[in-house]
Subunit: 160 residues, 2 copies
């Protein structure tokens, strides 16, 4: 039996408005909610062998808040809003992991998750800020259309 | 703008083994976890205009635990393991509701949810006992392939 691998897609928290999208910081509420989500994941014993995060400030800040959950954390340009799943897979398909976190943006995260689970983008998943998708896949190199979805939640379901 | 309607698919809690599948009761752990899920939903302000539940004992008992959340609750044969979405829709497509709960069994619940969201059964959703799926649809009569998924969770994410 194949041991399935877990990928968590985590959307950055609520950010402030600003002219330069690359440097919009998290709002106070965004920091607070993301911290609560991180605490909840920690309480559930969730760990990431590797966490990759978008270079945009709001995603970097979210990843920093989640850092205690990850053995390793790296910035990854493929997770920016222009990133493509196929290009990311091409670069990362051989990495070893049991549990991986991808911290980034919409619509990329639901697009990637849908491609891994259903093989296509259907625009059928609603992912709120600081929300989480959890999927299982056999391997990254055989991930497209091969995943199953075990978690989709906005922060409200995780918080008190 | 159409006001979307919400359907929660809730799987019965953990049940005891038994020869007659129709009368297997919830185990103590099943009762406890389902109660905690009910408390959590209540805490989040979740209400059901109507809750329909399978005639099998473990689903009836689960619905009884969830009863405080529902204005009305009714047994519904379509939610038994043999039930078909098309037949249920034929009978219930004209009902009025904003929030509906369907308490039943696997694989029916994920089959129905997948049909409402993606139009087909893909066997891509993992729904644990006392787990919940939340979807939004425009109307029941136009539900197949028209829904969006906003929640999929096992009880562990909802409990302390």
């Amino acid at each position: 039996m194949i041991k399935m691998k877990t990928i968590y897609f985590i959307r950055h928290g609520i950010a402030k408005d600003g002219d330069d999208d690359k440097i919009r910081p998290l709002s106070e509420k965004g920091i607070l909610k993301t911290q609560k989500v991180a605490d909840r994941l920690s309480q559930q014993g969730v760990r990431f062998d590797l966490m990759l995060f978008s270079p945009l400030l709001r995603a970097k800040q979210s990843a920093r808040i989640l850092a205690n959950l990850a053995d390793r954390a790296e910035e990854c340009a493929h997770l920016s809003p222009e990133g493509k799943l196929t290009q990311w897979l091409e670069e990362f398909k051989s990495i070893e992991f049991d549990s991986l976190a991808l911290v980034g943006h919409q619509p990329n995260l639901t697009d990637w998750a849908e491609q891994m689970v259903w093989g296509y983008v259907h625009n059928k998943l609603i992912l709120k800020k600081a929300g989480i998708i959890g999927i299982e896949i056999p391997t990254l190199s055989e991930s497209v259309g091969r995943g199953t979805l075990f978690l989709l939640t906005s922060p409200m379901w995780l918080l008190d």
